[in-house]
Subunit: 113 residues, 2 copies
């Protein structure tokens, strides 16, 4: 992933909605069609990935990830069109924030060795 | 704390430098003069707070927090002038990023119930 100098977490009034971990997880589920494959790629337990998916589906107006009924553990997960939009928009916000504070982020590097 | 709709984490080339948790911890240490008081206020273990302080001091060019030699556990912590600048500048970046993507963050609220 391109170095942006920051990560962003979007908060709703009732708490965190999405940040770098959930966004990457959804992107990897979309690419692999599997929660367990996405979790493995990120060095995350299946249980943790599942919790993140549940919290995404609970936080947003529509499901972000759906799983096939009767699917085996880790089989048949799909990112909805709505979920893709949510993540795409998150990436847009991240890019925009990064561009807006790029000079400040660069100056910040004076503080590190 | 004022609702900004986001949190920001600043990354260096070698990893995360500072985010909302570390920034708040430093601010609370500055206010209380004590790592254990700051940890308690944030519902964080003393051990965890100490680890965050150590990682801050290791990541930046100069110490962010100093502790008195021989001080009892949790006694006599001080945020350096350098540390105050690091956190002030972080808050500035956060405000600037928040302002830059405010319309996008507002639109994002359509995605939640």
């Amino acid at each position: 992933m391109r170095y942006k100098g920051l990560t962003l977490r979007v908060l709703g009034r009732r708490g965190p909605l999405i940040g770098p971990g959930k966004a990457e997880l959804v992107e990897r589920i979309a690419a692999s069609g599997s929660i367990s494959a996405a979790a493995r790629e990120m060095g995350m337990s299946y249980r943790r990935a599942w919790q993140l998916v549940e919290s995404l589906n609970a936080a947003f107006r529509e499901p972000v990830v759906t799983t096939a009924i009767g699917g085996r553990r880790g089989g048949g997960a799909r990112v909805t069109a709505f979920g893709k939009q949510v993540v795409r928009e998150y990436r847009r916000l991240e890019d925009k924030a990064s561009a807006a504070i790029a000079p400040g982020l660069k100056r910040y590097q004076r503080y590190i060795p």
